[in-house]
């Protein structure tokens, strides 16, 4: 059935490194400066992409593309300077890559199809090798068919930690949460996945008999070649004779793969600091407002801000990561929600979407939260 609910991506929940490497079916060159295999301890991880059924909300299940069957993908935590080796196996019919968003690495491991590498075909394994830098909150996602594949669940957090953590030095946090925000138009995703998989099956037939030419793949060596092909009768896929213009219109807004009321709360301990890393892997802006507290905005795109900024509403643009720290000094139950309230609905029904709340450990209030599905 569906992928399991995303476990809270705190420090202790990150993906364990694998013990042994895999044989690369699709070898990639080692990056510049990489130590020879065996001379250092590479932190190895394995990711496999497959199609799953994922439950966004009780009773609402969609087909998604998931690394290791999870939406979001497992959080990877490494230390700054570690050499990282990720074997990515594509077990789906569609082509994929992995882009390491925010990391500084050899361009051949950046995961952009036709710019830094060929896309990874079904059954192939590609090894991404890089040194973990810079420090901070980053993420990884597919960069092939990105508008569909990211909506469909191909994203996960990538955290580079530092022993002398500059944030912890100022704010001695004891908890570390990751929330990956995303948005999805389930109908568009379903329609596009069906079309893409069908197209790939047809291309497979041509590929097996060596008849899959570049034009059939809608690929060209350069712009000049495209211009020439169009002049000779090639019909690009973006023309109205081949497509009916339609952009995805997200109807569900997710926090760690789930929409309210299925989102996980932020559990805090009175008197202690909590770090919360927000990653926007979706295609809409969010304006996250926290009730009952001011937070300290400490990092943007993984990089510590020159000085913490106090506030109660955090703007989160697509592709950005923003870190805040929160002192639990006001016991109770407190809403945390997108203040663009069009993101706080499920299929147009309020409340839902990008909403969670803060819970104080051991707090016994006279009023406790319950669930309302339609106000």
């Amino acid at each position: 059935m569906g992928s399991m609910p995303m476990p809270l991506a705190r420090s202790g929940d990150s993906m364990p490194a694998t013990k042994a490497g895999m044989v690369m079916a699709h070898p990639a060159p080692l990056p510049r400066g990489a130590p020879p295999v065996g001379s250092v301890l590479y932190k190895k991880f394995s990711l496999e992409l497959k199609v799953v059924q994922h439950e966004i909300l009780p009773g609402y299940v969609v087909h998604m593309m998931a690394y290791n069957g999870q939406v979001p993908a497992p959080t990877i935590r490494v230390n700054e300077g570690d050499w990282v080796w990720v074997d990515f196996t594509n077990a789906s019919d569609e082509m994929h890559t992995i882009h390491w968003h925010g990391l500084i690495l050899d361009y051949r491991h950046d995961g952009v199809p036709y710019v830094t590498q060929d896309p990874i075909m079904r059954g192939q394994t590609y090894s991404y090798v890089f040194q973990a830098k810079p420090y901070g909150t980053h993420f990884y996602h597919c960069h092939f068919g990105t508008s569909l594949h990211m909506q469909a669940g191909m994203y996960g957090a990538f955290i580079v930690e530092r022993a002398a953590d500059p944030i912890r030095e100022k704010f001695p946090y004891t908890q570390d949460y990751v929330y990956v925000l995303s948005s999805i138009d389930p109908i568009s995703v379903q329609e596009q996945m069906n079309a893409m998989f069908a197209r790939m099956r047809q291309r497979d037939v041509l590929m097996k008999r060596g008849a899959l030419d570049l034009r059939t793949q809608n690929r060209f060596a350069d712009l000049k070649a495209l211009v020439k092909a169009v002049a000779k009768g090639y019909v690009p896929p973006y023309l109205r004779s081949r497509t009916s213009p339609r952009l995805p219109e997200p109807t569900f807004f997710l926090m760690n793969g789930r929409a309210a009321p299925a989102t996980e709360p932020i559990r805090v301990k009175e008197g202690e600091w909590t770090r919360i890393r927000f990653i926007n892997a979706g295609n809409v802006w969010h304006s996250l407002h926290m009730h009952g507290h001011d937070f300290q905005h400490v990092c943007s795109d993984g990089s510590p801000l020159p000085a913490p900024v106090r506030g109660n509403t955090l703007i989160l643009a697509p592709g950005k990561t923003e870190d805040i720290v929160l002192l639990a000094d006001n016991p109770g139950f407190w809403a945390v929600h997108d203040h663009d309230v069009t993101r706080t609905v499920n299929n147009g029904v309020y409340p839902g979407g990008a909403v969670t709340h803060i819970e104080y450990e051991g707090f016994n209030g006279t009023y406790t939260p319950s669930i309302s599905l339609d106000e």
């Binding site: 199609v51 799953v52 379903q190 069908a198 034009r215």
Partner: protein, 407 residues
């Protein structure tokens, strides 16, 4: 005239316009008869599929029985439909309604419309149920001819009660059918039908009585893999129909067919279809009237070979050769026809083409028409389909078939 509607040109246009919004209006009108709409009532999503298919041609016919060559502008088989579907409270189920009209035959006057389909249906992963009027189940797959009735005498089980006025008599029926899908590709249906009967039961009540019972079983490849698999469809069926004649209570027919890709290639594809029909009919019947040709014991076989070229996997060109043969058992009369056609795609939904057909029906009485004829048709065909407010995946989509079913 049963379900043949004779409408003025203006009325036809109005009806076609109403059809477009029919799917939306249908549910409300049913409720409105009972009580005003309740503002607090649920407003479930409705997926609306609307389509238009214009099949036009300039026909030239030459007969070898003395008739003069004829030229004709033909728009028969032109078709319009609207289908609405809505989810049910049970999350895996849906229901819908379909209304479709067509210009049934070449010889009907402009303004003549046939309600081809008007039915309510239910769908789930395992089951589809349809009640109302629709395409009959005596068809395994369509043939690659310009129009679906070009080879109707060979391709479809003949309605023994047809007057011969319309080929639609053999295609559209009042039906209640249940289809079970034990796997996404295997199906078995049972159906009861009213074969329009204006020959033996001219009274209105008798004409619409259930008079046919049948079953069909088969394998159908899902649409996404139809071009790249060897087997596209295999099926067989049997139907029993009531004759209520003094000498014979029932007749029956049986049919079987296979549609295969000889070259399952998305660019250069070659496919082959073969279908055979045996109709027991009334074995003692001697051919004297047109209706007799539908009721007499007969066997037919039809086969086609098709080539399709899809440059860069876009529709480009297709050509087909179809042969059909029939024998009336009692009289020993043979009929055959050969169709050759070619179509060039101007766009993804628009084709121009030419079709040649030779037809031989020797030893049939002259009153049935020319015995040997050939025709050529210059065709211009447009098929437009659009879906608004898409909320469903199809039961036989690639995702639902291979990654677990979701409605």
């Amino acid at each position: 005239m049963g379900r043949i509607l004779r409408l003025s040109r203006w009325t036809s246009k109005a009806f076609a316009g109403a059809l477009v919004v029919g799917g939306v209006a249908f549910s409300h009108s049913a409720r409105a008869q009972e009580e005003p709409p309740d503002p607090a009532a649920p407003t479930p999503a409705v997926q609306l599929d609307v389509g238009l298919r214009a099949v036009t041609s300039v026909n030239g016919t030459t007969s070898y029985g003395g008739s003069k060559p004829l030229g004709r502008i033909d728009f028969s088989d032109t078709y319009a439909y609207a289908r609405g579907r809505t989810p049910l409270f049970s999350p895996n189920d849906r229901a819908g309604a379909l209304l479709a009209i067509t210009f049934p035959d070449e010889y009907y006057e402009p303004g003549t419309l046939l309600v081809a389909e008007a039915n309510a249906f239910y769908e789930s992963k395992w089951l589809t149920v349809r009640v109302g009027r629709g395409r009959n189940r005596s068809l395994i797959f369509p043939l690659p001819t310009l129009r679906d009735d070009d080879l109707i005498r060979w391709s479809d089980v003949q309605n023994p009660f047809s007057s011969g006025k319309s080929t639609a008599d053999h295609q559209f029926v009042n039906t209640a059918d249940v289809t079970i899908w034990p796997t996404p590709r295997l199906f078995a249906d049972v159906h009861v039908e009213n074969l329009p009967n204006f020959i033996l039961r001219p009274d209105a009540l008798g004409a619409f009585a259930i008079n046919s019972y049948g079953t069909t079983v088969g394998y159908r490849q899902i649409p996404a893999l139809a071009r790249t698999s060897i087997v596209r469809k295999i099926g067989m069926g049997v139907n029993v129909y009531r004759l209520d004649l003094p000498s014979q209570d029932f007749g029956f027919d049986a049919l079987a067919g296979a549609w295969m890709n000889l070259v399952p290639d998305p660019v250069h594809g070659v496919d082959w279809r073969l279908q055979a029909i045996y109709n027991r009919g009334t074995p003692s019947l001697i051919l004297q009237t047109v209706n007799d040709t539908f009721r007499a014991e007969q066997a037919s076989i039809v086969s086609s070979l098709g080539y399709s070229y899809r440059r860069e996997m876009l529709p480009t060109f297709r050509a087909n050769l179809v042969g059909a043969y029939k024998r009336y058992v009692r009289d020993g009369i043979d009929q055959y026809s050969i169709v050759a056609n070619g179509f060039y795609a101007l766009g993804a939904t628009t084709e121009i083409g030419v079709q040649y057909q030779f037809r031989s029906r020797p030893r049939i009485p002259e009153s049935f028409g020319d015995s040997v004829a050939s025709s050529i048709k210059l065709a211009f065909v447009i098929a437009l389909d659009t879906t608004t407010n898409r909320i469903f995946d199809e039961r036989d989509s690639l995702l639902n078939t291979e990654s677990g079913y979701l409605p």
